[in-house]
Amino acid sequence: MKRATDKLIALQFLAVVLPIAVVLLVQMAADARRAARLEHSRPLRILASEARANYKTFTNGAADAVDTGSLGAQSVKALQTAAARLTELADHGEGTVVGDAESAVKDLAATLSKGATLSTLISLRPRIIESDTLTKAVDDEFERRDEFVVKDAISSAVYQKRAVTGALIITAILTVLFVLATRRRLKARLEADISAERERRAALETISVRFGVATRAARAGVYELTGDGLDLWWSDTMHELYAQPPQDFRPTMAAWLGFIHPDDRQAAQTAITKAMREHSQLRSQYRIVRPDGSVCHIASLAAVSTDSVDASPRLVGIDLDITDRVEADERERQLQQQLHDASRQAGMAEIATNVLHNVGNVLNSVNISASIVTDRVRKPRSAGLGKVAALLQEQAADLVGFVANDERAKHLPVYLAQLAEHLARDQQVTLTELDLLRKNIDHIKEIVSMQQSYSKLVGVPERLAVANLVDDALRMNAGSFTRHGVNLKCEFEDVPEIVVEKHKVLQILVNLLRNARYACEASGKPDKEVVMRIAKQAAGVQIAVIDNGIGIHPDHMTRIFSHGFTTKKDGHGFGLHSGALAARDLGGALRVHSAGAGQGATFTLDLPFKSPEVIYD
């Protein structure tokens, strides 16, 4: 704007100066020319005028001679002077103009050099009149030429005057035009600027309104603190946030700090001081205590600005009321804790169920073995042996006679042989059952031991063979699969070992297998089958659990991993949800595909070769 104005002013100046300068230069040249011509013309005119005047003096003397009778000496001298002036004119190169006048006057002067009587003059009158005419012509010529020069000078001066006037008029017109143009341009620019300013103001007003609405809606207050900390400005929303009416409270740094909870005050002040000193961003969180005693959680975000006129740093920021968020975070934390506990309990219950189930299966065998042994023990073969011993004690006095003569003694060898045979058979059965009982107890011990090993490895990634991991999961569910007649099929590719938290993968797989078994059982199909597949992927391993069970309705696909969603009568809607979360924690993903109800389902667990944030190598 200023540059354009300066340019217009410069153009206007040129428009004013240029015409006048041109006119003045031209007139200076014309003046010089006129001065030269006047300098040449004026002496010649004076000479001619003097010649004429002297000749007239002579003719007047001649006229006086009519009364006096003779020509006076003064008249003669004047005639000679006239002749001399004419000669001078001729000597100045004006011979053409002087012409015959010089010779006529010179001749006359020579004739009358010594005076003359009236009669002489009368006789010379034609020559006198002729010379008078000639001198007059010479005088007139030089007067005409001089007047021409003078007139030319005058006309030139007039022309100069007109030129200057014209230049002034042109200048005035140009000035007016430039002023009008400038005014129009400036007016247009001014109007444009005003329009732009209005738009900016409107935009600022809109922004201000939006900002006010937004800050009020966000319960955010804006503040500005000068470098020395003496000047503090609060927005209206800031006053509302601190429950300090603007008309009653003038914010100061000390008062501000006074509102902050004593436990947070020092940290808040330190954060502000640090931001001001280091010109860094301020991010602090503290509590304030309102006049009514309520505590409000504040998140303060600020930055130091130095774009003010005096370049002094200012801390400009906002205070956000995050009480709801903090309370929500606390509630969420509590919920998470509850969820974690529930998950833990569910996991424990799951594991306990598995353990109890497997142990229960073994305990059945243990129970059977114990019953058999008990039965064997309850039906002792030793009762008949006692009768034999009592009979022999009764016949101890004549044991030989008894063996030889008594009929009962004859059956004793057969009886003892049969008894020995039965005792040996019972011992064999008992030993067999006791051995089975020991094996079952070892199995229980192994199950418990495996569970204990899982418990010890919680949260610790380890390098594992995927097939072994899947085998463990299958083993934990093997009993239920067999019991419910579900055929299990394994399709394992050779895949590299992976580094994962074992218990999380087992948790996922046990859940998937249980769900698959349930889906198969619920379908009522005779050929229940679950396929366990391990495949290598570009960045990891994929474990798929494929069943031909009841499938998943399309409407349930989007909610299948949601917490609390279940289609089982006694389900909790936690297994798949926790499985998906666990898969994500492992850096993998749990996905599902089903062609629809009755079409079976495929759950795939993608696991990276190495879980994120795993330091273990």
């Binding site: 007047n60 006229a63 009519v66 009364d67 006789s123 009158r125 005419t133």
Partner: protein, 134 residues
């Protein structure tokens, strides 16, 4: 030149002598179209008035009628008339009116000369303008 002046002076004297013997009428006439006033006749014949508008006036003397003209119109003597013209010719460089012999010569001159002025002792024809009658 001197002889011409002498003749002119003589003619003036003769005109003065004869004027009384001439008729009573004197007509001052000019070329047709020259509207000269009677009061201007004296100035014209004494060299004081040489132009009427743009027309150069050419006065001529009528030797036969000059005495009567000097007496009635200029009211001066012939000598005075000659002296005046002598001074006038020296001072202003102009010649005195030419002296023509009689009315006929004057009339003829006036008819053919634009601006011609003269005086006649006889009544002039209509081809010339009569300025005054004395």
């Amino acid at each position: 030149m001197q002889r011409i002046f002498t003749i002119w002076m003589f003619s003036l004297l003769m005109a003065g002598v004869c004027s009384s013997a001439m008729g009573d009428n004197l007509f001052v006439v000019c070329h047709a179209g020259v509207a000269l006033a009677a009061t201007e006749v004296r100035d014209v014949f004494l060299g004081e008035m040489q132009f009427l508008n743009t027309v150069r006036l050419v006065p001529v003397d009528n030797i036969e009628a000059e005495p009567d003209f000097l007496d009635k119109v200029l009211r001066m003597s012939a000598g005075r008339y000659a002296t005046t013209w002598a001074k006038k010719s020296f001072r202003d460089g102009i010649n005195p009116p030419a002296a023509l012999a009689n009315d006929a010569t004057v009339l003829e001159f006036i008819k053919r000369t634009l601006g011609g002025c003269g005086y006649l002792a006889v009544a002039p024809p209509e081809s010339v303008t009569v300025i005054a009658k004395y």
